[in-house]
């Protein structure tokens, strides 16, 4: 493979029901850094139906070029039509780098595309940078976050990587920013469409996505049961914060799974993460250690949470939170 014919940093700009997903803007933001180092352009790939109107938003957030395939076959996400569209665009434009959000869509699409174009894919990267030899260095956690591995894909293109929502930061929208929009017609092989979408059902979830919260008060096993959780909710209300929880609390059914922080839950990085009675299993730490300021209360002074906490208090989280609630109210 002649790598030098592959140029540009591409982002799969995921949309749902016509709405560009936040992770797509975050990846466009990251792609700007990488493109600056490579002296190349940022391309956003926008797939959907009646979607071209969203292209400007991607330009405002940092894309130089939006490659848009607008077709009824791409109305809702389905593996095969989206894979065909992506592979057609890869064939046509030869991206050097391709970033995809690690959502349920991206994690379905990414591996299928990588296998079809026979290149590597590195999942859930937390750091992306350009190495000395212009290759993409993709760093990801292994074993729940304590071991880190930097992965390279030197001999195949594009260099593909997925990144979880909330890991990268989007740029402020610049409404003056200009860019180019290229429309692409995908020659679909419809005989390969084998899966039909019957319907999409929304389920009730909490109103606020914890990965977007500025302040999170997070409850762990050390808060005990219902009344302990009420103390956490009270503190959250006082600080205008959201409630999240460790896996232990979610598993006993007190808090919904969409509020779980950690490897099997969500990655969060609020300005303040307040860990109440959380010991800090490595799977949990992987989901919150990038938070701005971390306060942790735990009765075991050797608890791993204290390794990432900026302020650690050894003590009974229930008593301390109770008193803290009282003091903050007066």
């Amino acid at each position: 493979m002649e790598n030098s014919t592959y140029k540009g940093v591409y982002v799969f700009a995921e949309q749902r029901n016509g709405e560009i997903q936040k992770v797509a803007l975050e990846l466009v933001g990251k792609a700007r850094d990488l493109a600056a180092d490579l002296k190349e352009k940022v391309y956003a790939i926008l797939l959907g139906h009646n979607i071209a109107g969203q292209a400007q938003m991607l330009i405002e957030h940092g894309a130089d070029v939006v490659i848009c395939a607008d077709a009824p076959e791409l109305e809702s996400y389905l593996t095969e039509p989206y894979t065909q569209a992506m592979c057609h665009i890869i064939d046509l434009h030869k991206p050097d780098i391709l970033l995809i959000g690690a959502t349920t869509t991206g994690r379905d699409l990414g591996p299928r595309v990588s296998a079809r174009v026979a290149t590597g894919l590195t999942a859930d990267c937390t750091k992306l940078e350009i190495g000395e030899d212009k290759h993409l260095l993709m760093t990801r956690p292994a074993f729940g976050g304590n071991l880190m591995a930097t992965i390279v894909c030197k001999e195949h293109r594009p260099q593909m990587s997925t990144v979880r929502p909330g890991v990268m930061q989007s740029l402020e929208a610049d409404t003056q920013r200009q860019g180019e929009i290229i429309m692409v017609d995908v020659p679909f092989a419809t005989q390969k469409f084998k899966v039909r979408l019957v319907k999409s059902v929304k389920e009730k979830t909490s109103k606020i996505d914890i990965s977007e919260a500025k302040i999170l008060i997070s409850a762990g096993r050390g808060m005990g049961c219902c009344d302990g959780l009420n103390l956490v909710k009270e503190l959250a209300e006082t600080l205008d914060a959201q409630v999240s929880a460790s896996r232990a609390v979610v598993d006993c059914g007190l808090v919904g799974h969409d509020q779980q922080v950690g490897q099997t839950g969500k990655t969060v990085r609020p300005d303040l993460y307040f860990a109440a009675g959380i010991s800090g299993a490595i799977q949990h730490l992987a989901g919150m250690e990038e938070s701005g300021y971390i306060v942790a209360i735990n009765k075991d002074k050797y608890a791993p949470i204290f390794q990432v906490a900026d302020l650690g208090i050894v003590g009974d989280a229930r008593q301390i939170i109770k008193k803290l609630n009282d003091r903050l109210k007066n």
């Binding site: 593996t79 349920t104 994690r107 990414g110 591996p111 026979a118 956690p141 039909r196």
Partner: protein, 260 residues
């Protein structure tokens, strides 16, 4: 109906502890288990066996000790087990792994291939879809419910961020399964006794249909450039105080950080 379940033996990461002094993993004595999502896949296959009289084959790729995972699957009730093992498979990334598994699957008859969504030691969620691509069959990932009409059509609930999708497809297809969707059954005593009497087929490179250059380290587009321990973040402040002092410290820190 023929079902093949792909499983992986993984270290039980919930048992992995960190050495607080060095920040490195303590892996000694960590038990190996069947990856949780894969175990749910076994359970789904066995329910299809109970309901639709499906024939269930389990396959794993891994070192000799992965035999234990296959024996456990046999004890749960699967009919056949295949162990893919060869030095040529070593050092594989997800793409090379999926080539080896697809090579083995080409030898088998299947209407449905089940994998776990992702393995707890790597969390990539890539091998399932990559196998489906090599075999040129449809995939549905993040499956949480499966209905079969007894002929060829599957109706599938696929979990997504804010709800689920209902999808339909025909056999053959590949699905990836979520661990909390199917609570795995226990092994029976009879099952355990029989599991060790059954034959596990051992296949290497010569037994499967795959190009050698697609396998192992050579067939892996991604390579580990470096691995490192994250190390310990610059230590914060740690206090052992009585409740009143603790509350005072927290409040003054939050004020200092302009949070309150």
């Amino acid at each position: 109906m023929n079902i093949v379940v792909c499983i992986k033996q993984v270290p039980d990461t919930t048992e992995i502890k960190i050495n607080p002094a060095t920040g490195t993993l303590i892996r000694d004595g960590v038990p190996s288990i069947i990856n949780p999502d894969d175990k749910a896949g076994l359970e789904l296959a066995l329910r299809m066996k109970d309901l639709h009289d499906a024939h269930v084959t389990v396959i794993t790729m891994g070192p000799p000790q992965a035999d234990n995972a296959l024996r456990e699957a046999l004890a749960m009730g699967v009919d056949d087990a295949i162990h893919l093992t060869d030095r040529k498979f070593a050092g594989a990334d997800t793409l090379a792994t999926s080539h080896a598994l697809a090579g083995a699957l080409r030898n088998l008859t299947f209407d449905l291939i089940i994998t776990g969504r992702q393995a707890i030691d790597g969390d990539t969620a890539q091998v399932g879809p990559q196998i489906a691509e090599h075999l040129d069959i449809a995939q549905v990932s993040y499956l949480r419910k499966l209905d079969y009409d007894g002929k060829r059509t599957f109706t599938i609930e696929r979990s997504i961020e804010d709800g689920y999708e209902i999808l339909e497809t025909e056999a053959p297809c590949l699905v990836t399964v979520l661990s909390d969707a199917f609570q795995a059954r226990y092994m029976t005593v009879k099952g355990i006794m029989e599991a060790y009497a059954k034959e596990v087929k051992v296949w290497g490179f010569n037994e499967i249909e795959v190009k050698e250059e697609d396998l192992g380290l050579k067939g892996s587009p991604t390579k580990v450039h470096k691995a490192f321990s994250r190390g310990v973040k610059a230590a914060g402040e740690l206090y052992e105080l009585d409740t009143d002092e603790a509350v005072g410290t927290i409040i003054s820190k939050l004020k200092e950080k302009f949070i309150i």
